[in-house]
């Protein structure tokens, strides 16, 4: 096993000790570059879950992997929970600029996960990854949001 850069250790420690609200990231015991991530759907978004029924909000599982290049290249992040979102496809891949060309080594696991949480609050159908969802969003946003809520209830409860 290669030695883990100090930066990753520091990030992990801080993630575990002072987690960002609505985000938890736990490193895998076997591979400290692999994280199990849980993001709760932001309030007032279709991914919030059904609050009126006192159910816990939408809970989305993700996986995050730090490549050997990290922090020179972006971490690989993927949704494991099914989600109806114009920027997230069937396989859970995420369309987010900072995960691709806009990556900067000053970004961290924490900031990436916060960005993903923000993406849930503000879907961007103009830069789609799941074309059918984006079309739905653009043609009938109300209906699309209804579907997103339904999916949240079905898969992310």
């Amino acid at each position: 096993m290669n030695s883990l850069p100090k930066r990753i250790i520091k990030e992990t420690e801080r993630l575990v000790k002072e987690p960002a609200p609505g985000i938890s990231a736990t490193p895998n015991e076997e591979n400290l570059r692999y994280f199990n991530v849980v993001i709760t759907g932001p309030v007032d978004s279709p991914f919030q879950g059904n609050v009126s029924h006192h159910k816990s909000g939408g809970v989305f599982n993700l996986e995050l992997f730090l490549t050997d290049d990290y922090p020179m290249s972006a971490p690989k992040v993927r949704f494991l929970t099914k989600i109806y979102h114009p920027n997230i496809d069937k396989l859970g891949r995420i369309c987010l600029d900072i995960l691709k060309d806009k990556w900067s080594p000053a970004l961290q696991i924490r900031t990436v996960l916060l960005s993903i949480q923000a993406l849930l609050s503000a879907p961007n159908p103009d830069d789609p990854l799941a074309n059918d969802v984006a079309e739905h969003w653009k043609s009938n946003e109300k209906d699309a949001i209804q579907t997103a809520k339904e999916w949240t209830r079905l898969y992310a409860a």
């Binding site: 096993m1 030695s3 883990l4 850069p5 100090k6 930066r7 015991e29 900067s104 080594p105």
Partner: protein, 441 residues
């Protein structure tokens, strides 16, 4: 960004410069545990203070304190080595603001060094060396573990929780963390080998019995003020575990002497009737011998809290009744356990080895003398001791620390709770006192 309370840290800095009076007074140095804790929490604050300071000068890429920071056109600074990884050799995109800095043909080396920031970073790195090392994880406890893979320093508790399941892949270096001043894990390490758990010897006397022993001791003192026993005020009797290193050393000694054969030293008769006393015919014979022995030597491992002249007496306490069963934690957790301030190597080199060699020397000289026939002479005694093996163990000796006040002066007494031996400070009767002793009252 300084989220911590600066006041105690500054106080601690001041304390380092001028130790406050109560820490330095001679008679007062058997620790109140409170003083000890004060020191520990202040050094922790000092560490937090420097940590908070260093957060402002950390490289956003490697999260370390900036190392030779270079400045980009947007005035953001990063370690030279980090920029080397970020650049495409023609330009650098600032990791913080994405501003593009064009590079000259010299590449990274053409960027200006941020000298002021470099100086600040070097000063902070030095400051860290100066403050006691605290666990990287909890910022509370003393460092006793270092993980080679993670390059972090941990206390035992944090190491156990963090590395519980990673032990197979990670090399954990264990130190007893005994040196408080400049903790350096590298200097005294044992790899993959937990220290023998310490032994806690049992308290043989109760606190009540200790009070009686103390009073008897006071009454037995010579030249003490006559009203000492009535007027003294007991401040406290505190049960304490005193840390000792016990060394068991095997020695092989070559010793010998040159001795004369007593039988041949017959006075010779001169030509005249006078006996020529000066002329003896002596047969000097050199004899050497080998001698192997085993010694046990206890050495106190915390000398900071005990006054010097008491320490010498406490040092000589032989530790006995060492149980075979290993007791790893204090039988009564409420009893104050004094820290090991002396590591094994120092304790051996500075104290135990010298004493064992001295004992061996005395023993061998004794053997030479007893082997010498009556009437013969010995010269050139030599003893050459070599220590063949050493084993060490940590033992806690139960004691009672007693403090009493007489005539507005503080005195300290230590009672060995194993052997009931007493050592301590005491007042002496002045001339007036002695005078009073003889006055019928």
């Amino acid at each position: 960004m300084l989220a911590i309370d600066i006041q105690p840290s500054l106080m601690c800095l001041m304390m380092v410069k001028n130790p406050p009076h109560q820490y330095a007074t001679k008679k007062d140095d058997i620790s109140d545990s409170s003083g000890d804790e004060d020191y520990r929490s202040s050094s922790r604050n000092l560490f937090k203070f420097f940590s908070a300071l260093s957060n402002d000068v950390k490289c956003p890429v490697c999260f370390e304190i900036l190392n030779r920071p270079l400045m980009l056109s947007c005035l953001h600074s990063f370690c030279t080595s980090c920029l080397q990884e970020v650049t495409n050799n023609q330009s650098v995109t600032c990791p913080l603001c994405r501003c593009v800095t064009k590079l000259s043909e010299k590449g990274i080396d053409g960027l200006p060094i941020n000298r002021d920031l470099t100086n600040v970073c070097e000063s902070i790195k030095k400051a860290f060396e100066f403050c006691p090392k605290v666990c990287d994880h909890c910022f509370q406890k003393k460092v006793t573990r270092k993980c080679e893979q993670c390059c972090i320093f941990l206390c035992k508790g944090c190491c156990d929780t963090l590395h519980a399941k990673r032990n197979s892949h990670h090399t954990i270096i264990i130190s007893d963390g005994s040196s408080v001043d400049d903790f350096d894990v590298e200097s005294h390490v044992q790899i993959e080998n937990e220290f023998d758990p310490p032994l806690y010897l049992p308290f043989n006397i109760t606190r009540k019995k200790c009070t009686t022993i103390f009073r008897d001791w006071v009454r037995s003192l010579w030249f003490a003020p006559s009203d000492l026993n009535e007027k003294l005020v007991l401040r406290y009797i505190k049960p304490v575990y005193l840390p000792y290193w016990i060394f068991e050393a095997h020695t092989t000694t070559r010793y010998g002497a040159t001795m004369s054969n007593g039988n041949t030293s017959i006075p010779q008769l001169g030509g005249t009737n006078n006996i020529n006393i000066g002329k003896y015919e002596k047969n000097w014979v050199a004899k050497t011998n080998l001698f192997s022995n085993k010694y046990r030597q206890a050495t106190i491992a915390n000398n900071k809290l005990i006054d010097r002249d008491l320490l010498i007496q406490v040092q000589s306490w032989e530790l006995s009744n060492i149980p075979s069963a290993e007791v790893t934690c204090p039988p009564d957790p409420k009893i104050l356990t004094l820290a090991y301030l002396l590591d094994e190597t120092t304790a051996w080199k500075k104290n135990a080895e010298v004493r064992i060699k001295q004992k061996d020397k005395e023993l061998c000289e004794e053997r030479v003398k007893s082997n010498c026939p009556i009437g013969s002479n010995i010269k050139d005694i030599f003893v050459d001791t070599s220590v063949t093996s050493v084993a060490s163990q940590r033992v806690f000796l139960p004691c009672y620390f007693i403090k009493y006040v007489y005539n507005n002066e503080n005195f300290s007494v230590i009672v060995n709770a194993q052997s009931s031996k007493v050592v301590g400070h005491r007042p002496y009767a002045g001339i007036g006192g002695i005078f009073r002793m003889f006055k019928p009252s």
